[in-house]
Amino acid sequence: MKKDQFLPYAIRKCGLLKLLFIIKFTLLFLVISVGQVFASDTYSQIKKSSLDLKKTSIEEVLTKIEDNTQTNAQQITVKGNITDANSGEPLVGVNIVVEGTEIGAISDLSGQYSIQVPDQNSVLVFSYIGYLSTKVSVSGRSEIDITLLLDVEGLDEVVVVGYGTKSKATLTGSVAVVKGDDLIRSQSINVSNSIAGKLSGVISVTRSGEPGSDGSVLRVRGENTLNNNDALIVVDGVPGRSLDRIDPNSIETISVLKDASAAIYGSQAANGVILITTKRGKTGKPQIIVNANQGFSQPTRTPNLLNAADYATSINEVEEYAKRTPRYSDDDIQKFKDGSDPWGHPNTDWFSSTYKSWSKQSMFNMNLSGGSETFRYFVSMGTKYQDAYYKNSATNYNQYDFRSNLDADINKYISVGFDVSGRMEDRNYPTRSSGDILWMLVRGKPTEPAYWPDGKAGPDIEFGNNPVVISTSQTGYNRNKGYSLNSNFKLNIKVPWIKGLTMAGNAAIDKNFNFSKTFIKPWYLYQWDKLTYDVNNIPVLTKAKRGVDQASLNESMADNQNLLLYGLISYEKTIAENHHLSVMAGSESRVAKGDYFSAYRGYFESTVLEQLDAGGITGITNGGNAYNQPRLHYFGRLNYNFKDKYLAEFVWRVDGSYIFPEDNRFGFFPGVSLGWRMSEEKFWKDKISFIQGFKLRASYGQTGNDRIEEWRYLTSYAFGDRNSSFITNINQENKILYENGIPNPNVTWEVANQGDIGFDALLLKNKLSITFDYFDYRRSNILWNRNLSVPLTTGLVLPPENIGKVANRGFDFEVSYKDNAGDFKYEVSVTGGLAKNKILFWDEVPGRPDYQTSTGHPMPTDPNYPDNNLFYQVTGVYKDSAQVANSFHWAGARPGDLIFKDVNKDSIIDGNDRVRSYKNDLPTLQGGLSFRFQYKQFDLSILFHGSAGAERHISVLGGDFGNYLQSDFDDRWTTANPGASKPRTSNRNTEYWRSFDNTYFLYKTDFIRLKNLEFGYSLNPAICSKMGLQGFRAYVSGTNLLTFSPLKDFDPEDNAGSMNGGSGMNYIVPKIVNFGLSVTF
């Protein structure tokens, strides 16, 4: 009775969250304990109980269930033949299970099976990959032949949507789905890299391949806002979990809500929602699957740089243009060429000195799944390892993860789910970043040694940066350990008294810890003055400390927590047979909290003890901060369908976010979608029967985006960066406090208005399926600052105001064809999408000529720096001084320089001659073409990924401080080659055509690449079963094996944007070859 008193109290007094949290958990445990009472002694209720629950008490229900579970044990053997419904070919390896038991069998080479069933009313379930599962009641028969239908997507598939699932047949929203099995084929350690080309309407770009930070940028239908364009990632109903790091073997499906159906996620759904559902146990005998693969990676593309002789020639040209004496004699150049003097005249290929030919990566996963009717489990463990390209690499990534998804039916009405997953992400890096290392590799002069001929490390390029050394642990280390623990506790209650009414609750606690430790110590390089030799005439090298003088240590610790609670009620009812109605409503609270601190000490007297306590006394620093981000949500869904023909759905959400001021805190986000399964109409069946399925869909909705800077509604002041601190009284450091911009008391949501119209079609006996969607999105209320139009004299840092408007239109599609010819099965599918955005309104610098304005055109690469998309127009290379003299030219232009066009014809080349490029660095068109073949035990899958519409400005600066690209060297202008297509040799960015961004260095990054290729062999099931296995497959696969792109020196997906300062360089995207095994026990 104590419990009963407690509950209403909790309802009355739902005040403090902390209390609620306790209540929630008490409640859940309570229900379990009650549930156990219900469930005692009631295992395996195989027979369906047919009770009129409205009239019975719980005690009676229990008694009846007990009665029904009395079984009469008559063992029967059922035999039969399993064939393909279309071809009549026997199907080998079909799984047959007696429903509700763990009794199973597999069909043999001739498609025959034999199984013992416990009673004559048993139901057999036939399942086979790629075919529709079929259930057959034994009904006393002893011989049952069965034909299986090819599973063409869209027949009985269930699609995960927000807070529930829907049948694909009656789905009205635009949802792209990829199954876990398809993802695994990419063998990527990072799941975000497996998505490319597989989901229609999802644009994926891998900016960096660095182990541990190689996530792809994912954009659902391109970009819609000037602010954060990240899709909302929801794993098993919980937002904020990692998509990248989840074990691909534990993913059941990924669904992407692309249109108004995302409105159920309200304020964070404007950029689409990516829902990941992990695998759960299925009733049946325990199955152990072991997956192991070993991969080898190397960069897809490295820039082609000059050899020492050509570099020396280039430098001599620089000197010549500067009217200085040549630096290298012909003799020097000859020695660089012939390698006769490795000490004095080396010819270094920095990339091959630093990179090994192949780097290892591996993945191992083992999972166990199965269950009884009342208890199901999926348990998985995995490890992942990734090495970097460097020889003696300090960089690597290790991951250890586990997952346990448990489902238990306490009784007929109450079921619980308990999921725990944990992961350790162990990242190791050198103390200089991958960007620094790549920058040094590009810069490294071929005329300087990476290693001296005696094997000692050569001198640095600068700051102690010799890439062969700074890529190793000789400089110390940067370790980052991330731990995450995710838990979900779910409760589902079917209310016995009202048919169709269910209630569900979910509590999820995610903890993430991160510990980072960077220990930087001095390292040693060797100099030779090119003059001093020892008695044996061997050059004398000087060892020198480089980089830092004394070691330093920085440690930081972050503790983040995400608590999510939701409860929902749903009700389903069919009225007068044809009216199917379902309603769902719920509420959710989410609190993200975190604390961070860091500590630093320098001036280590020794490098033996790598702990803070061992550091020096002076310059000790530390720092810390915290955050608290609550959000509150109410949501619901209403589905109505008439005869499964006319479909309608309404979703809504009311969201409250702490980001906004109290008066504007709650937003309402509705979405409506309609569907018409025209193929179910009589006229269609009569006249257009060659199209077996056709569904027209349309949706419209509003979602929001609250992912902007916090606290913009408050007048507030924050402490400034300590590095720019003011110092008084000689050594006294002072705090600095700055006005955090002026407040905008009216700040509110961005609103996404999303319209979508599309269809799903099935043709050619369900072999061909087509899905097509056209969308028209308008984002309004985009928070944007008016700083560009407000004079600097105001001194204002303006807050974001809800002024921006962006339109984004496009289409996406998926076509797939599946068939077989005898033993040869094949499937071809094409996915693709085009998304083009256009700024309808934002803040722009006034008074610019039309060709420089951005309103009415696609968003710039970085909206915060719109002028980065302005480029001088290059029309060629000046042949001779006469041509220079006869043109309006840049002051100081000379032959061999790039010709800048006088766009506005004012006879002056200046900033007004820059023209806006309407492309940015995100592709507008992306697609995938995939083939799957299976012949007997062999399978082959191929995926091409194509991308177009993006461009990048890449200007690799060579000169006396670093190497040149071969492509800049070939056919460059010289006095001997005045008709050249490329400009003369230049030194760093001293020439106007190097320092001012222009179209010459603007590259299209379109590409088509062989994203994945996998060839596998599965052992014959008959042989497998002799070996005591259920399955055995070996495969070899490749990622990014071939790339076709106009960009030759860099990977087209890379981030190698600004090669002129090192910043922005990244780790080159890998090409991977994998060998793997998958064994099922």
């Binding site: 209540i23 609670l565 003011f726 009284n729 610098v845």
Partner: protein, 589 residues
């Protein structure tokens, strides 16, 4: 029935557990203060004022401003020194040197906001408020003084703008701006009462006033804009009419006010025989404190967000010490240092030309690193090649017995010496002034403060005002004080010769202290100083004995420069012009 209630309770709780409470979303930020918290707390207000200091920048921030005048060259300012900066690319004005008025006006806003908010601050006594007011008056005056020096008359902003205000402020006349700065300096002088050494004092306020009044009395600002063609608004760039003598007098009085405070003196201004005068002068810029500091910015070696920030050593010392060698002194600057006896140096004097770095005045040795100068021990990897640390800014010829040829070995501090040689200097000279040899600059930042205003400048200001008032004898007293400290004999010139001598004295004494850029403009001698930059190529030629060498000096052009009168003032960015229809562009742009 009981059970129905039971299930209903569960249902309601599931839904209810997550709702109901408005307070749930009312969280306060954990990383910033609300308005009231700041303006009623004197300590936080002081922190707010501290941020204004950060905004005004300083000469060790990495801007190499002196490479924009005829003190140094730096390839990054090639375009500027050709007077090619225009309204469409003012943003290219590079680095930490930010005359773009963005930071300036942020600071002005911060000052104005302070004045507004401090009125209503509770719990703060008047003395504290006044002290703070004085500090902020000074900062505002300082920011405007820089703006006016770069742009001429600028908008004087009195509002603390809100979101929906009218933002279009017109430029005020040059005279109004000067008056404003002077009045802020006066207010500051009457209120400041600092307890910390890095904060403005009464002396600092008066010295800033002295500087701006001297500028205001100079040729450029009394030209009525005659150089600017038919510029319709000369009042923006000059006084119009009025009595220039009064301006000189004001400048003189302002400098005198500082002198009369009696609290500053030239550092080691009365050297005795045998004293190391060069060291004395050099110490002014590397010591933490001297008797002539008026307003300084202290620096901590532990702070800085990028390599070059607060790191003049790394920025400008030679590449042979693993530094960047940025900002290479001009040949003409070096030539202008007198001989130790006060006579002029000349390349036509064969003795001087053979050994140009011998017997020069002490400030030369403290300001310039030249070929053969003893600097400090080389870093460990290079110490084998040079254990003493002598600047190698030249090539040395050697006899190679093997090949019977003369080979040239380039010094480690050249652009051909094999040590980070892309960072080598162009002129064969590097900056020494302000460089603290105690610190290994490749690893550590030095800790000497940046000196915004030192007493010597005030004395020079006074002397210049005296010359303006044709009180030449009085001027010479003050110039000669400075020369005495530098170990140089008195000057005796009169008329234009005195003016030239004074200007050279100011150029050398205040070199690399961010004065020359403004001085050549206000004196309207920029057309003579924006000439092609010359450096030296030095090769130690092998003598007939094949062992000894003799240096050969060749003048080389290291940077093309041209002057265009429009460069007296910076252009206002085209975007700013477009944003604000009330703005008037500077002449000739």
């Amino acid at each position: 029935m009981k059970k129905i209630l039971y299930f209903l309770s569960i249902a309601l709780t599931l839904v209810g557990a997550t709702s109901c409470d408005k307070e749930f979303l009312n969280v306060q930020p954990l990383d910033r203060f609300a308005d009231q918290a700041v303006w009623n707390d004197p300590i936080l207000i002081q922190d707010y004022i501290n941020n204004i200091y950060v905004g005004i920048g300083h000469g060790f921030a990495g801007s190499l401003q002196f490479a924009l005048s005829d003190e140094c060259m730096w390839p990054g300012y090639e375009k500027h020194c050709k007077s090619n900066i225009g309204p469409t690319d003012i943003s290219g004005f590079g680095g930490n040197f930010d005359p773009s008025c963005q930071n300036a006006y942020k600071n002005i806003r911060a000052c104005n906001q302070f004045f507004e908010k401090i009125e209503t601050s509770a719990n703060i006594d008047k003395a504290t408020k006044d002290k703070m007011r004085g500090e902020v008056f000074f900062m505002r005056a300082y920011v405007y003084s820089k703006l006016v020096s770069f742009y001429g008359g600028v908008p004087i902003i009195k509002n603390v703008y809100g979101l929906n205000d009218d933002f279009l402020a017109p430029r005020n006349s040059f005279e109004e701006c000067i008056n404003r700065i002077v009045s802020d300096c006066d207010s500051a002088a009457s209120l400041v009462n600092p307890s910390d050494k890095g904060r403005p004092t009464k002396g600092a306020a008066l010295a800033l006033k002295s500087r701006i009044l001297l500028y205001a009395a100079s040729d450029l600002y009394n030209s009525n804009g005659s150089w600017a063609g038919d510029f319709a608004h000369p009042e923006l760039i000059s006084y119009i009419g009025g009595d220039r003598t009064v301006r000189w007098q004001k400048a003189k009085d302002a400098a005198k006010d500082v002198i009369d405070l009696g609290i500053y003196s030239l550092y080691k201004g009365e050297p005795v025989l045998g004293e190391n005068i060069a060291k004395n002068y050099g110490d002014i810029f590397t010591l933490k404190e001297t008797t002539e500091d008026i307003f300084v910015r202290f620096i901590s070696p532990d702070l800085g967000s990028w390599w070059g920030q607060n790191n003049p050593g790394l920025l400008s010392q030679p590449n042979g010490w693993h530094c960047w060698g940025a900002g290479n002194p001009y040949n003409s600057l070096v030539d202008n240092y007198e001989m130790a006896d006060g006579t002029k140096f000349s390349w036509t004097n064969p003795v001087q030309a053979a050994d140009p770095y011998e017997n020069r005045e002490p400030r030369f040795y403290a300001s310039i690193l030249y070929d053969g100068a003893v600097w400090k021990p080389r870093p460990l990897d290079l110490i084998a090649r040079d254990s003493i640390g002598i600047v190698q800014a030249s090539g040395v010829e050697k006899w190679d017995a093997k090949t019977s040829k003369i080979i040239t070995i380039w010094g480690m501090d050249t652009r051909r010496g094999g040590v980070e040689d892309w960072n080598g200097g162009y002129t064969s000279y590097y900056i020494r002034k302000g460089m603290d040899p105690k610190f290994d600059a490749q690893f550590f930042r030095q800790d000497a403060p940046w000196r915004y205003i030192r007493y010597t400048e005030v004395l020079l200001n006074y002397a210049e005002a005296c010359i303006g008032l044709v009180k030449e004898d009085e001027a010479k007293i003050y110039i000669n004080k400075i020369r005495k400290r530098a170990g140089l004999p008195d000057i005796t010139e009169t008329g234009q010769d005195l003016v030239d001598r004074y200007r050279n004295e100011r150029r050398l004494e205040l070199v690399f202290e961010e004065h020359r850029f403004f001085d050549v403009r206000r004196w309207m001698i920029a057309s003579q100083t924006y000439q092609n930059a010359e450096g030296l190529r030095i090769i130690h030629k092998l003598n007939a004995d094949k062992i000894t060498t003799t240096p050969a000096f060749t003048k080389i052009n290291v940077q093309t420069r041209t002057w265009n009168d429009r460069f007296y003032f910076l252009p206002i960015g085209l975007d700013e012009m477009n944003k604000n229809s009330n703005l008037i562009q500077n002449p000739l742009y």
